[in-house]
């Protein structure tokens, strides 16, 4: 359950929601690349599981394995409690939005949308009705007579989404479904999709690179890294208490400062003074990584319980209302989100509350402490 | 017609035909018509081979293997022996004898011999054509030859042909079909006229060391060396002749119609030149009908059809179609066309001497002919020694005999 979505849209799961799970999935490609390395995932039935991870970490491969388009090297997969490891893709009741759209080049947008219904033997009139409805939802109603080659990137992507949704499948796999849409449309589509998903209760696996999308959709969030699961939990939990420095860096772009702990002070290479930490980790680890989010760093010296230090600004970026200031502390780069413009090449004192600090050990594992 | 009308409906028999040869099949279509069926109770289905005699032979082969030989087939007269040797052809004698209304004496006796082996008649010729010489009078005149005095012997032929070339009247003096001439028809004729034969007397072995043959090959080789003679296959031969590039060809009398249509120059027909001191013998070509069925009822029906074809009606139809370029079995019909035969250089005494072509025994006959042809061509085209070539041919042929 997504704790952040507490609206009437969050209907109780339809009783027919199915669960999807993978156990010890390994996928090795013929050239030896191991794209998935012992992946075990349980997707909440009727919920949305968001997959996150750096480019090339195996997200698409995982979806393709679930769909049955790729055969896992070892491991098993079950859908609705049944082992489908050896079941044909077409019989798993899975629909997918492909990263590259994968439209039928010879069929019009309408033909593409209607195709899964034709395959399911839906009568013509019913088909037309449902195509019209989904096209309206996706705002492509004026384009139904065009072939994929005559559509823009975003339009193609929407046709691809429509083709997956129109079947109202038990399991929906979405591979960066909104990546080619503009921000406004993306937000709209996301909301429409969420409403539909909540109503129909299809178990969804969702890959996205958009953090806002991930956080707002995820009933469960899974971070993959080089074919392995780094962390799998709720969105809120993951954002608040990233289990590893990798997750922390990946989600929300946390600044990570590695150094050695010396008498309550974090020594960072290239920086003359250390950082005096307001709280220390429970165990006496020597090599530490300190994490703090750009938006948790505020200009000014802060209070006595805050961590405070000085950086040299290098570059600022306009983000809209705010600016992202890139600076460095010793040899380390870090980013700060500020509201006003700051001059480049000068020193800037920033502070962060003890509660906003995250500590990770030598191997990147979270240390209980400050932020908890 | 016969008196005994069949009790239960018409009997249908299959006759395999070389359907690309309209000269041969069209009269058959014409004669074996619905009226014939009504009259005799025999109906004929023509089975198309899609080609000429060669295609017919391929079809017979396939049908033989499949065990569904046609009731009868129209084949090249030269191939009769092959089917007799293989015991596929059925004799007509008892049918002929039983048919009281048929009078064998109305048939040209020399033609009747074509299908005779071991005293039985295995085939009846529908047409018989003979070799004649066609020559382009315009070329003759240009070369200073007298068209009214065509060559009659090989020596004269050689001289005339050389003169044509030397005077520049045409590219070649003579064309002589060898390579794809079934059973070396033209060659056989000239050799026979020179008193030779390609086979021994009991027709069991080839005699390629025959002096007449050797002489002919030497004669041809001489001309070939100087480019006087060329074009050894059917199409090139006639096409070169029609183009006016060749003065003289040995060709079938049955081709007279085609010559008349295709030659855009003045030409004449004369008896073909023979070896010096020889006597012209006509080894005939043409089409014969053989019967394969051994079922008496069907044999009877085949006989009805054959009799119609070789009788007066068929004879007339063939002579009509071929413009007199052939002889038919019905002597009376031949007489009525005698004038045209004369124009085709056929004298009455020739008819009496009509002889069938020789054929090698057994199934390898075609291969032996091919071997012989290739050896002779090797002489003409690559200058191989004639005697060696013929000896090689004989050596290669021997193992192929049954």
């Amino acid at each position: 359950m997504n704790p952040s979505v507490l609206t009437p849209l969050a209907l109780p799961k339809p009783p027919n929601a199915v669960d999807v799970s993978c156990h010890n999935l390994v996928k090795r490609f013929p050239d030896g690349t191991v794209a998935l390395d012992d992946v075990t995932i349980e997707c909440p039935p009727g919920g949305i599981t968001v997959l996150l991870g750096p480019s090339g970490c195996g997200k698409t491969t995982l979806l393709r394995c679930v769909a049955g388009l790729e055969t896992q090297t070892t491991g098993t997969m079950s859908i609705g409690g049944r082992d489908v490891s050896a079941v044909d893709a077409g019989l798993r009741g899975v629909a997918m939005v492909f990263q590259n759209h994968a439209l039928y080049p010879d069929k019009t947008a309408e033909g593409n949308l209607a195709f899964p219904l034709r395959m399911a033997g839906v009568p013509k009139r019913e088909r037309a009705r449902r195509v019209a409805a989904i096209a309206e939802l996706l705002q492509i109603d004026g384009l139904l007579k065009r072939r994929p080659g005559q559509l823009s990137g975003g339009q193609r992507q929407r046709v691809g989404i429509g083709r997956a949704l129109i079947r109202e499948p038990d399991v929906l796999l979405m591979d960066e479904p909104f990546s080619s849409l503009d921000a406004e449309l993306r937000v709209e589509m996301r909301a429409e999709f969420l409403a539909l998903q909540r109503r129909l209760g299809m178990t969804t696996l969702y890959v996205t690179h958009d953090q806002a999308e991930a956080l707002s959709l995820a009933d469960r969030m899974v971070v993959l890294r080089a074919g392995r699961i780094e962390q799998a939990t709720s969105a809120e939990e993951m954002f608040r208490r990233p289990a590893t420095s990798f997750v922390a860096g990946f989600l929300g772009g946390m600044n990570l400062l590695a150094g050695t702990l010396d008498d309550g002070t974090l020594r960072v290479p290239g920086h003359p003074h250390g950082l005096r930490l307001p709280a220390l980790p429970a165990n006496g680890s020597q090599n530490l990584t300190l994490g703090v989010r750009p938006e948790d760093l505020k200009p000014g010296p802060g209070g006595p319980d805050d961590l405070s230090f000085e950086i040299t600004t290098m570059l600022t970026e306009l983000l809209g209302r705010e600016r992202l200031v890139h600076g460095h502390l010793g040899d380390r780069r870090l980013k700060v989100r500020v509201h006003a413009d700051v001059p480049v090449g000068e020193r800037l004192t920033v502070h962060a509350a003890a509660a906003d600090l995250h500590l990770f050990d030598h191997d990147g594992a979270r240390l209980p402490g400050a932020g908890d | 017609g016969t008196d005994d009308t069949p009790a239960d409906g018409p009997v249908t028999v299959n006759v395999l035909i070389p359907d690309s040869s309209s000269n041969i099949v069209d009269p058959a279509y014409k004669v074996l018509n619905p009226e014939f069926t009504k009259r005799t109770g025999t109906s004929v289905t023509f089975v198309k081979s899609g080609g000429d005699y060669g295609a017919v032979e391929e079809r017979i082969l396939a049908a033989r293997i499949a065990g569904n030989l046609p009731d009868a087939a129209i084949i090249s007269s030269a191939s009769i022996r092959t089917y007799v040797d293989a015991k596929l052809a059925q004799p007509f004698d008892s049918l002929m004898k039983a048919d009281t209304s048929y009078d064998p004496t109305t048939a040209e006796p020399s033609l009747l011999k074509f299908g005779a082996r071991d005293g039985k008649t295995y085939a009846l010729p529908l047409t018989a054509s003979w070799v004649v010489m066609y020559y382009n009078t315009e070329i003759f005149k240009k070369a200073g030859l007298n068209p009214d005095d065509p060559p009659e012997t090989l020596t004269e032929l050689g001289a005339a042909a050389r003169k044509i070339v030397d005077s520049g009247a045409a590219k070649h003096g003579l064309a002589f079909r060898l390579s794809d001439d079934p059973n070396m028809w033209r060659l056989q004729n000239v050799v026979a006229s020179g008193g030779g034969s390609l086979m021994n007397d009991d027709e069991s072995e080839p005699t390629f060391d025959d002096p007449a043959l050797l002489g002919l090959v030497r004669f041809l080789a001489d001309l070939a060396k100087d480019g006087v003679i060329a074009h050894y296959d059917a199409e090139s031969m006639s096409e070169a002749y029609y183009r006016g590039d060749v003065g003289i060809v040995y060709d079938a009398s049955s081709g007279a119609r085609t010559h008349a249509k295709s030659a855009n120059f003045d030409y004449r027909i004369a008896p073909y030149p023979i070896p010096d001191g020889g006597r012209r013998i006509l080894s005939a070509g043409g089409a014969s009908i053989v019967m394969f069925t051994d079922d008496p009822v069907r044999q009877q029906a085949v006989w009805e059809a054959v009799r119609e074809l070789v009788g007066p009606a068929g004879g007339a139809a063939y002579l009509e179609e071929q413009g007199g370029g052939v002889l038919v079995l019905d002597a009376a019909a031949n007489k009525s066309k005698a004038k045209e035969h004369a124009e085709l250089a056929l004298k009455p005494e020739d008819v009496a001497d009509f002889a069938p072509m020789v054929q090698f025994p057994g199934r390898s006959a075609q291969e032996i002919w091919t071997i012989l042809g290739e050896q002779i061509l090797a002489v003409l085209q690559s200058g191989k020694d004639p005697a060696t070539a013929l000896a090689d041919a004989e050596a290669a042929a021997k193992p192929l005999l049954p």
Binding site: G90, I134, R167 | E58, L61, Y232, L377, Q381
Partner: protein
């Protein structure tokens, strides 16, 4: 959104017949129509079978011992190889050029397609006559043009030029086929990759070499193998143009097998030649596939 409420029937999670079931109709027929009869022919190579007498006797390898060392066979083998070398490279290159030309023009492509298609459609019997006239000594088009330049004349009646003459006709016949294949293959060239190549500064040659040629891979492999097969089993062209002559100089294996097996009624000998021909074509196909086939095919596989 409300209109999306009826749910589709759920798919049954279960097993389907394997995709290879789709091979059944085609392969059943292939076995019935081709493999079976071929096996019969193979068996016949061990027999001395007189089709007219209907007598057959097992002779073991005698037919092989008789046919394989013969001059005829050796000549036919060499002729077949020469014919292949004379036709296949020319056919493929010329057809590819023509297809690229037709594909590149903005106007008149339909006209050119038709022009180059005509030879494919025409009946060989009639075309043979026309070709004979083109090859006619001295005054035929070929002697009058190429012949003048190269000093060659009367191709069809020359023991050295008859085979090249037949290969001219074979090339001409197969070009129409190859052009049609290449034209179809050209429709599979991904247009956006072509655009990328243009922007990458690739000129026409490089665009061909780096985009078109790889994409044509499967079509090229197909055309190469079919053209080679057509060349190795050439029969019709030989029969209508030269009947294997003069003096066997244009007899190919396929012609020899027809001559032996059908015309000379030597079924056993014909079967041996058939076997040799099949082995030859199969061998050449294997070589082609392993030399270039796999590579070219993969280049165009998506």
């Amino acid at each position: 959104m409300n209109s999306l409420h009826t749910r589709l029937p759920r798919p049954h999670i279960g097993l389907r017949p394997p995709p290879s079931a789709l091979l059944i109709p085609a392969y059943t027929l292939l076995f019935l129509l081709i493999v079976g009869p071929v096996l019969v022919v193979v068996t016949l190579s061990l027999f001395d079978y007189d089709p007219l007498l209907g007598a057959a006797g097992f002779v073991g390898m005698d037919n092989f011992a008789r046919v394989l060392p013969s001059d005829d066979f050796r000549t036919a083998l060499v002729n077949t190889a020469v014919y292949m070398l004379l036709t296949v490279p020319v056919t493929l290159t010329a057809s590819l050029l023509v297809a690229l030309g037709i594909h590149s023009v903005r106007f008149g492509a339909a006209l050119w397609r038709s022009v180059y298609f005509l030879p494919v459609a025409a009946t060989l019997a009639a075309m043979a006559v026309a070709w004979r006239w083109l090859f006619y000594a001295d005054s035929g088009l070929i002697d009058a043009t190429i012949g003048q330049v190269l000093g060659l004349r009367d191709w069809l009646h020359s023991t050295t030029l008859a085979l090249p003459a037949v290969s001219v006709v074979g090339t001409w016949e197969n070009m129409g086929f190859a052009i049609v294949m290449f034209l179809a293959g050209l429709s599979a060239v991904p247009p956006h990759v072509m655009e990328a190549a243009r922007l990458d500064g690739a000129g026409p040659w490089n665009r061909f070499w780096h985009v078109t040629w790889p994409a044509l891979g499967p079509a090229t492999v197909f055309t190469l193998i079919i053209c080679t097969r057509n060349a190795l089993k050439v029969f019709d062209q030989v029969q209508v143009m030269t009947k294997g002559g003069p003096i066997n100089s244009s007899t190919t294996l396929s012609y020899l097998l027809w001559e032996r097996g059908i015309r000379f009624l030597d079924i056993g000998g014909g079967s041996v030649i058939t076997l040799m021909l099949l082995a030859l074509i199969l061998g050449v196909t294997v070589i082609q596939l392993s030399a270039v086939g796999r590579r070219w095919e993969r280049a165009g596989t998506r």
